[in-house]
Structure formats: structure tokens, C-alpha cells
Amino acid sequence: MCGIVGLFLKNSELEPRLGAMLEGMLTVMTGRGPDSAGFAVYGQGGAGKIKMTVRGSKLDSVAAEIGEGVTGILRDTHLVLTLPSTEEERVRQWLALNRPDLTVTGVGQRIELYKEVGLPADVARRFSLAGMSGTHGIGHTRMATESAVTTAGAHPFSTGADQCLVHNGSLSNHRSLRRMLEPEGIGFSTDNDSEVAAGYLTWKMRKGATLAQALEASLDDLDGFFTFVVGTETGFAVVRDPISCKPAVMVETDDYVAFGSEYRALVGLPGIENARVFEPEPARVYAWERN
């Protein structure tokens, strides 16, 4: 099971409503995934700054403790740190040394990434998703079938700066891919197969592939069932395995591109009544980039 959603805005006037639209889509997918939920939102970024989303407890004073130039916005169990991009390595080391209990969920110029156990509506409310603005976002509702219901097992997974992936399906060659990717410097924080897919794309893009090229390559190298929705700082893409094992519905208008595991997830979007709703073809990469 599992439900996945994605929204990529073309019309900047809709950006203040991104979170509200995504929350509606995510909540409808509760039936496909009531165990946990997660989402990534690409919001504003500052010049020379990066955002680091950290998950855990006792987060109130973390930003101050790390030191000067670091600020934090607390949302329930997640803290979004903003820091000079030159400080990333120092902050990671500080966290590893002083707060090993915390997990970094995502890092990048614009990405913020939240995930938690519970009903999607509750998760969205705890992180105030409805109030978030941004250019694009992706989300996931999980029905755990292969591993325990834990926050770490919730999607999205981020393995590179401003990159994230949600996955519906299961991969059968993730162990061998992991063994190939780890010596290449791709790090993993869970045993999850979907995190390996994210790492694979990160590896391909690090070697110079575009998002679309990385996904094209994944069709050859990944074995199993998958519908992926992937975000990068400026891009948004969808791909399904060659036998289209997992459901997918998309809509594209002048204002946005949206993805849902089922059409129901798209019902609340503006202008949907007259929009072109289509089912993405198997083994075909659909990708959009912001200008």
C-alpha cells in the first residue's frame, strides 16, 4: 500500500498556498497509509545559507548551543536550523559529538523535511504544514508492510542536498545496490529499501546526471516495484516501474503539476474540474524544472 503525493507549482501566486494544498492531498491518502507520514517542502532560501532539518526531542536550545550565526525554527519534534553554508560540516560534527540522539532528516538551500508516526492529518497538523509556503513539495503516507512502524522508516528520504524521494513499492536488489553505493561515499541511516533508491539517484546526479537522466538509469538498475516522486532544489519528477505495479495519477495545468496515488488526492486542487488528468505510463520519466 502507501500513498504518495507531489505538487510542483508553475504559478508563483500559488506559493503561499503550497502547504495547504499538500496537506489536503496527504490527508486524503490516509486510507493508503495510516501508520506514519512525512513531507518535504521547498521554501525560501537565503544567500549563502543552508537549512538543516533535525529530528528528536529537547530541541529548544540546540541552535544557541551550536553557536553564533545559527538560528532555529522549532516545529514539534523537528527543528529547522539555518546556518552559513560554509558551516555545514562543523554543525554536523557538533551534532554528532554533542547530540548523537538527533537525526538530520534533510539538508539543502531550500528543503525542509518532516516525518513522524501517526495519522497523516495529525502529522500535518503537528508540523503546521498548512501554513507553509514554497515552490514544490512531496509527501508520503505509510502502511508498513516490510519493517516496523518507526519514524526512521517514514518517507521522504533525503540522501543529498535538496534532494528527496518518496516511494510506493518495494525493491528486491537494494542490498546489492547498497553494497555498491557505500564505497562510493553514499551514506545511509536506515535499512530501508527506499533510502537506497534515494541514494542511487544522489550518486547518479553527483556523477553529472540530470534528475531525468538519473531516473532513466534507475529503470535499468533497480529491480522491483516502484513509483517514485522525486524533488530537487529546482526539479520535480515521477517514474513508474515497467509493469506499473503501483498506482499513479497526474494532472498538469498552467498553474501546477500534481501527482497522487489516486485521483481522490487531487480532488481539492484549484481548477481540477477542467484539468488534464492522466495516468503516467510505465517506464517513462516525467520531469519538470523551474526556470
Partner: protein
């Protein structure tokens, strides 16, 4: 006309109202507003009524249909008209995977495209798709007819038994034991009738189609065919 608004009525209430209809009901025309992609809409009908769904439908719409005419104004999700016994289901938009799966009878008309596995394990239904159909369509099809005005995806008719497949456009590839067959007069006659039923006999000619069906080599186990099963 009986109008049911799914913004204020639950799907279960709607389906129960339709299931309660007697065979000689005078309530023969229904309109369903605000379907919003809900699943299992108007499944299990067993009365000669017409139901118009004013928008997109979710999974298994009009499943197990008997006698009724169901018109879906938008797209249909997975398994539209699955296991239909009789009647007509007409999708004005596209259909998702497994349209008409296992259906025994009736007519399924899809104005747009149907995606993967259209007519999988069909057992007597007639399916007319005005657009194209996706990969693995007519997989293990047992009887009935698929007519495709557009193209067919990979592995058409894999492990097919006795269903007839008529494709006007290109076939990407044929599945195991599916071959092109001669178009004889009786095939053209049956095809003409289905094109008429689907309202497209003026636009397309039976001469534009090619026929595909079973080579009948996989009916019984033969060790030489082990790789094809």
C-alpha cells in the same frame, strides 16, 4: 431523474439505494454528482437502469454490473466494470489498469485510452477502446472481443485462449501464443456490429483493423513450451 449528490450522501447509501431497485423499477435514470474519484461507485447493480456519474470515478466502478447502463463522465480508476455480467459501461475519459477484468458479458466502451492489462482474463465481455491500450492487455483472455481504434502496448494477448482482438493501429509486441490471424467475413461482421454499438461505425471501417488471437499452442502442457508458460 433521480439525483444523488455524493457531497451529502455516502457511497454506501448510494450503492444500497441502487441495490434495492426492483427489476421493474420506474426509477430508471440516475445522476450521481460529485463522485470525486471515490472507489466502488455503483458496483453490483442488477436492474435495467441508467446511471450517469458526473466526473471521475475511483477503483472498481460499475464492478459486477448486470443489466444496467453506467456512463462515467470522466476517467475511471483501476478495474472499471471488472467482472461485468451484462449491460453497458461507458467511460467518457481514460480508464486505468485492468479495465473489464474477468468480465463475462456486456459492453465496455472507453472513449479515451485504457492503461495496462485491459481485458485481463476476460470471459465474454466486449470492450471497445477508442484510444490506445497499455501493455499486457488481454492477458489470459478466455472469450469476448477487444476492439482498439488506436495502438496496443507490449505483450498483447499473452497466454490468450479464445478471445478476439482487433487493433487498428500498431501493436508494440504480441505476447506468448498470440498471433495475427486472417480477417474472415464473420469477423468483419462481428466487428462492424461492435463499432456500431460504440457509435463509431461512420468514422472507421472494419478494413482498417487487423485481427489477433490464440495460436492454441499453450492449451496443454508440453515440455518444449516450458519457457513460455
Amino acid at each position: 431523474m433521480h439525483v444523488v449528490d455524493l457531497a451529502t450522501t455516502t457511497r454506501r447509501e448510494l450503492n444500497q439505494q441502487l441495490h434495492a431497485l426492483a427489476a421493474d423499477t420506474n426509477d430508471t435514470h440516475w445522476r450521481i454528482d460529485n463522485p470525486e474519484g471515490q472507489h466502488a461507485l455503483v458496483a453490483g447493480l442488477d436492474a435495467p437502469v441508467t446511471v450517469e456519474i458526473m466526473g471521475h470515478a475511483g477503483y472498481y466502478c460499475a464492478g459486477m454490473n448486470k443489466l444496467a447502463t453506467v456512463i462515467i463522465g470522466g476517467n475511471a480508476g483501476v478495474g472499471v466494470a471488472e467482472n461485468m455480467m451484462s449491460g453497458t459501461v461507458h467511460v467518457k475519459g481514460d480508464a486505468s489498469q485492468s479495465a473489464g477484468a474477468t468480465a463475462h458479458g456486456g459492453l465496455l466502451i472507453i472513449d479515451g485510452d485504457a492503461s495496462a492489462r485491459c481485458g485481463i482474463s476476460m470471459k465474454g465481455v466486449d470492450i471497445v477502446v477508442k484510444g490506445s491500450i497499455g501493455p499486457m492487455s488481454a492477458f489470459m483472455a478466455q472469450s469476448g472481443t477487444i476492439v482498439v481504434l488506436g495502438d496496443a502496448g507490449e505483450a498483447l494477448g499473452d497466454s490468450i485462449y479464445e478471445a478476439r482482438l482487433f487493433v487498428r493501429g500498431e501493436v508494440k509486441s504480441l505476447g506468448s501464443d498470440c498471433i495475427e490471424k486472417e480477417m474472415r467475413p464473420e469477423h468483419k461482421q462481428g466487428l462492424r456490429k461492435l463499432l456500431q454499438d460504440a457509435g463509431v461505425s461512420e468514422e472507421v471501417s472494419v478494413d482498417e483493423f487487423r485481427r489477433y488471437g490464440s495460436a492454441r499452442q499453450l492449451y496443454n502442457f508440453h515440455v518444449d513450451n516450458a519457457a513460455a508458460y
